[in-house]
Subunit: 616 residues, 2 copies
């Protein structure tokens, strides 16, 4: 679904689409078939008003904020061609796509395959053919022709008149957190503006505009080079991911650039989730005085027409979805956060994981606790309750209210659920193990065994009926190792693995903002794994009010024990918690991908030695 | 255990040690207590021959090839101090340690903690105090004092007279495969030789000397800068890992450097396993004519005295362990390999994982198949049969000979074993699942369930008795997804995950080189998971003779489908196999660390999108 903003001074249509409402039919869905695109409809309008669309002295630029599928050249090319067709229909001069749009971002080690690069260039040739009367700026890897350095560049191609008119390479290659760009790419070593229809475009790629700090991460700044060639505009192709501390910063960075170089900027970001990384869109057109001309939606595909003349950029109807939700204070020493953004990111994370993997249906082990309740509610919202199944797996230690709460939750959500008690299977294990265990007392071995029985049960349904198991572990548990490998740590996608327990509660309250979806009792009761009589999380862990801020200082802020103690915590407590975090690296190493919403998620963005001894 | 080579022209002792034989007592063991070191004994010798040790015009350099523990500053510092003490005893002028010796390599994201860097520098201060009458060259991260660039350098410190006499920074930062150095470090931007006792030392760090190719990976070459300052010798501090195609190349690189710059080189490598990465030692002293003066042992700690005068380097008794084992041809299109090296690497991988994690005891699910047999044999050799337990978990589909073979194996090895049939537990699951499964036919759900019962059983013993589960999956299975998550894919360490099935057979034959440790029947019979009646691997997969070379071309050589087909395979078969590899990324993502012996192991060195579509 393409959501159109301003389509010019003449034809001013917002949210143009086919006669039916595509938003309700195809919300965020990554792979709209070509026929859903409004090309033919727009084509008719452009035919009608055709003569008016030829304005002089004005350049019409389209920002195409799209959701790609990594390595799926067929789908990505179709998507790009469709946007080019639409852009032609409104008489655009130039259409701008995001970083590495042709292959999807991040392509990771696919880039090491010559075959993959050849496929990308075959796709680029097809796109180039479509760039006949319209300019196209699109991201694609290019081969470094020099003998020295890495084999590839992360490049932006200017296509026009069915030819490559120019290429620029990315200079600043983020190689931190989830980013590995210097693994693949040589940084640019020369900088040239691209000429297009008599204008000089300073084209940069993502990180290239991000290093205007007092303490820069890189030794040089590509825009400082480009500005010497007196460009008329800055255009940045990005793949800039969401996190709950990052979204606001992006506008600030763009503003810093337009003010510093006294130029307007077109900033085109990608959108959509790629395994664990959520790209939130929010592309922007900004004038050199810092005013926002257009702000594209967050967590949705969209296109936007911007007109550019001697007075700068203009757009009749910015499509920005104003996010009114107030930021919520979770706890001292933890950041305020916009829960509605996190909610949108998780929905997109689930939806794109399923959509791009070709899956429809999810299963959740529903315990009557807060984590599985939130995951189940998110899954039903993302995939439709008809595609979600809950499995309740009470043990001999489960309380009645847990089962009742879990049942009520599924009744509220309208998803299918089953109840299978695990007691008999547990006893069969006990009997089989008795010759070896003899009369050794019940301990963590039996607790883990029950969790693993649940894991095996829910995977049996997943395998039998084609469900994907959504994991329900939260970040507090994963940090401290309070979970069972192959038991409650099983699953294909970690929905809450980047939210601390206190943040999960805030999300539960947000889900209940209009009505009680999650039974209040689930939110109110004390958390428990129910693996032994009367067990509570607080038997093994500090209260989450204490635990979570300490974890946040250590994980997100990379503070050491002394720095955390200075914030007012007991040294012994801090030492104990940090030791838990470091000693459980081996468990997290076997965990599924986690939808990333924080600036430091477990997974590919946090790479710790397993066999190490620091603070352990 | 420190194995001494030549300790000078005067005191010529090979394999100096305490009166008892430390090799038999402490083979490769990473954390010898200080008292095991031969300091006091050597001290006595040096006192006796003391006057003779002062030679003039000769510089005595010690190469200290040691095994560090990442982040364990106490242990690493003790180890380094002990070597300094030993070096003083033999009147050495300079002792050379390996790359990032102070904190261990690779420290990964520990480097992002200011506290970690402060601890490293506190350790460096202690080492500096010991460097009073002796020079010490040691690797340690340093803080970049400039505002621009990354915060750290990967540095080598020259300590002498209890002061820092000089620092050099690494220039070429490997950022490929398992290496992430540009994630943390700024490359050096200036190059200066270090002056020591009137000599000019060209000190480089690992990768700095590796880029003398026609198609260099980097734009500059640090030795080309240093040579302008007319150094007298090259000294390289390395952390260069083993793989079965890399070991031979290392000597070639050193030779290329000494010939090109017409200088001798001291090359000090680290040794020991760090989770998945095995460092094999093999430090070298080479004269400018390319002759090897000393070659330190592989897969063992060692120290070596080298004398350096106007005629170049000399050493009386090179300690090299000559590896006589012939390379074995596995199969056309797969590399010849030295199985004895792989065997040593896996033993060190197991031993160091357990030693550094503080574990003693391993458990293996022993199926009567080749993979678990090889893992069990390796575990017994690495940890001692008394520390290894086998669990036989026959299903209703297991053949009698499988159990017999597995029993015979444990009898041969002398390890404890138990037999627990899984049939009753499986039936309890079937009964519990019946209300949901109804009468749906037996399929992959039930096959996986049996594998998961085995996983839960062996983990129950692991949890109850404190064993670490060694995983037995081979690379062919992991590549094609022929394994069950949370079942046979469970475990803390993947012993065979970097060896294709054909290579596992070669290793089994090597283990049986002197006597039949692994029953011949295990080697001879057709591989089967025994999860349904009469099942064979070849029902689901091509024969390993065909599969493995195709996997090798794709995974190790990064060849695309067309290139592999050109080597003589059917396009449909190649397409099917490559699709299996790419579609099973999600399984490997949840797999434990794999001891790396190939140039491209699954895990941190191979980073593929999970949600992707390339060849899938």
């Amino acid at each position: 679904m393409v959501k159109w903003g301003n389509v010019g001074n003449v034809v001013n249509v917002v949210n143009v689409g086919p006669p039916f409402n595509p938003l309700s039919f195809y919300p965020f869905y990554p792979f709209a078939p070509l026929s859903f695109y409004p090309s033919s409809w727009l084509y008719q309008i452009s035919q009608y008003f055709g003569f008016l669309l030829f304005t002089f002295g004005v350049m019409k630029i389209i920002i195409a904020q799209q959701n790609y599928h990594i390595g799926n050249f067929e789908a990505n090319t179709a998507r790009i061609l469709s946007a080019i067709a639409d852009a032609k229909c409104v008489g655009a001069d130039l259409v701008v796509f995001s970083e590495l749009a042709v292959c999807g971002y991040p392509p990771r080690d696919f880039l090491e395959f010559t075959d993959f690069i050849e496929q990308a260039h075959a796709a680029l040739a097809v796109i180039s053919d479509a760039a006949d009367t319209i300019g196209v700026l699109v991201g694609c890897p290019s081969v470094n022709p020099e003998a020295k350095g890495k084999n590839l560049y992360n490049s932006a191609y200017l296509l026009y008149d069915q030819k490559i008119q120019g290429i620029v390479h990315k200079t600043l290659l983020p190689t931190y957190d989830i980013f590995d760009e210097y693994r693949y790419f040589e940084p640019a070593a020369k900088w040239e503006v691209l000429e297009f229809k008599g204008k000089r475009l300073a084209v940069t790629i993502c990180e290239d505009i991000w290093d205007l700090e007092d303490d820069p991460l890189y030794r040089m700044c590509p825009m400082d080079e480009l500005i010497k060639q007196q460009p008329d505009i800055m255009i940045n192709l990005s793949a800039s991911p969401f996190d709950y501390m990052h979204a606001a910063g992006r506008k600030g960075v763009i503003r810093k650039n337009v003010m510093r170089y006294n130029l307007p900027m077109i900033y085109c970001n990608t959108v959509g989730s790629q395994t664990e990384i959520v790209f939130d869109g929010g592309s922007i057109a900004m004038n050199s005085n810092g005013s926002i001309i257009a702000e594209l939606p967050y967590f949705a595909e969209a296109m936007q027409v911007v007109e550019w003349d001697d007075d700068g950029l203009s757009a009749d109807s910015p499509t920005a979805v104003v996010q009114t939700e107030e930021s919520v204070v979770i706890k001292t020493l933890m950041p305020e956060m916009n829960i509605s953004q996190i909610h949108s990111a998780l929905l997109m994370g689930i939806r794109d994981y399923f959509g791009k993997m070709g899956f429809d249906k999810a299963i959740v082990a529903s315990s009557g606790g807060i984590d599985s309740a939130v995951v189940l509610a998110l899954a039903c919202e993302a995939l439709g309750a008809g595609n979600v199944r809950a499995l309740l797996l009470p043990s001999q230690f489960s309380t009645n209210h847990s089962v009742d709460d879990a049942v009520q939750l599924s009744v509220n959500l309208g998803n299918q659920y089953d109840i299978i008690a695990i007691k008999d299977v547990f006893e069969a294990y006990e009997q089989a193990l008795h010759p070896v265990f003899k009369d050794l007392p019940f301990n963590v071995a039996e607790e883990n065994l029950q969790s693993r029985i649940r894991g095996a049960m829910v995977m049996a349904l997943a395998n039998k009926f084609g469900y994907i198991l959504l994991n329900t572990s939260n970040k507090s548990e994963l940090a401290t190792g309070y979970g069972t490998l192959y038991g409650d740590m099983a699953g294909g996608l970690g929905v809450l693995g980047d939210l601390y327990k206190l943040q999960v509660y805030a999300l539960a309250r947000y889900i209940n903002r209009d009505s009680e979806v999650i039974p209040q009792n689930i939110i109110d009761k004390a958390p428990s794994a129910e693996l032994r009589p009367g067990q509570k999380d607080s038997d093994s862990l500090p209260e989450y009010d204490t635990l979570d801020p300490i974890l946040f200082q250590y994980i997100e802020h990379r503070q050491g024990p002394a720095e955390i103690v200075r914030k007012g915590y007991h040294a012994a407590l801090v030492g104990r918690i940090l030791k838990l975090v470091n000693n459980n690296e081996y468990k997290r190493n076997q965990f599924c991908p986690i939808i990333r919403v924080s600036p430091k998620a477990f997974g590919m963005g946090r790479r710790m030695p397993i066999v190490g001894k620091y603070l352990g």
